[in-house]
Symmetry: C2
Subunit: 221 residues, 2 copies
């Protein structure tokens, strides 16, 4: 969270956190169309966010874990434009947005922190656009796994082992692939000795090889 704050400032920011909210697996934190009044800081658990087109198609736009903020989409129209759904039993801090506005006027560091959070989300989405626009299936899956373990490692988990909290379908939606393609790609990596895959459990057996998949756009010749 924000750094460089005095004790007094910290005390004020604590006022922000009015409520915590538990969200059970598969339950929505919010849904597109609902009125927006708060951002949510994830304390524990994992969420997916997804947008839905008029014709019903939907797209997972991100997977979010402890320490990350969701709900930023709601600011512009005063109502949410995507769904946030818990992938496991989770807990969030509710941060009423009008309070954030007031407080960030008094505490400059909070203001700047919020700006950075929003900017980070924009930059993250640029990365996803690069992935969706120019990578092949193997590269997408490799990038996805490397990104996940990196974030897990930053939270004190293993840099080489992880348990997927999402289905192949959801991974596929996020990566612009069908679930069969995700499954096949996992299998191929496993066969090549890059990964060990057992359902939701994944061990990265050869990080270098996995990284090298990203370096070679034209596939592995």
């Amino acid at each position: 969270m924000p750094s460089g704050l005095s004790a007094a400032e910290m005390a004020r920011i604590d006022q922000l956190i009015t409520t915590r909210r538990k969200v059970r697996r598969k339950a929505p934190l919010f849904r597109a169309g609902e009125p927006f009044h708060a951002l949510y800081a994830i304390r524990t658990g994992v969420f997916k966010t997804c947008v839905t087109a008029e014709d019903g198609r939907d797209q997972v736009t991100g997977f979010h874990m402890a320490g990350e903020i969701v709900g930023l989409d709601g600011i512009v129209q005063d109502h949410h434009t995507c769904d946030a759904v818990a992938l496991e039993d989770s807990e969030v801090c509710v941060l009423p947005f009008d309070r954030i506005g007031e407080l960030s006027r008094e505490v400059g560091a909070l203001q700047h922190h919020l700006h950075r959070v929003m900017s980070r989300e924009i930059v993250r989405e640029h990365g996803v656009m690069l992935l969706l626009g120019s990578m092949r299936a193997e590269e997408r899956v490799a990038a996805f796994l490397l990104n996940l373990v990196q974030r897990l490692q930053a939270r004190g988990f293993s840099p080489s082992e992880l348990v997927l909290r999402m289905t192949r379908q959801e991974i596929g939606s996020y990566l612009g692939l069908k679930l069969e393609t995700v499954s096949r790609t996992f299998s191929r990596f496993a066969q090549e000795g890059v990964l060990e895959v057992q359902h939701r459990f994944v061990r990265i057996a050869d990080v270098e090889r996995l990284r090298s998949v990203l370096a070679q756009p034209g596939s592995g010749f």
Copy 2:
């Protein structure tokens, strides 16, 4: 720009605009890696923004026209993470970011306006992710053209005619397609009487048919 402001508030916001800057066609407004110190409000002209991966691949992340803000990517790391390049001779207002911070603490409406601008960009990118993740080539091109004319119409231009300021290559990069596919899709639409295309000039001959392309995920059977 922001509404609901007193004259005094307006006067303060005018202080924001210290400089204008002209950018010639093909010249960068900023480049990835450069230090960030300002946002840019486009006065005239068109820009593309694009990110580049380590391996050199790049991806156009957006096309931006008068009234839109670019540079939001730079906030999080204090340096830009993408390039903004003028597609025609253009002019921007330079909005020094530290001033924005100070002023938005005094003028609540400005603060909220900035939040909305950033949130709008996040939501826009969700839409692009949906496009890249789940649409077929025809749908992507149709969505691209409809989005462009809609924005042009909001600026007082024709709802059915436009001049593309970007190459097929750039359109393709934005849409996750190769330039040949973009060209072929234009040709097919022209052959079906949906579009008239002459190089950079496009006339939408049948908006309804173009819209209906989007409604049918499974292609046009």
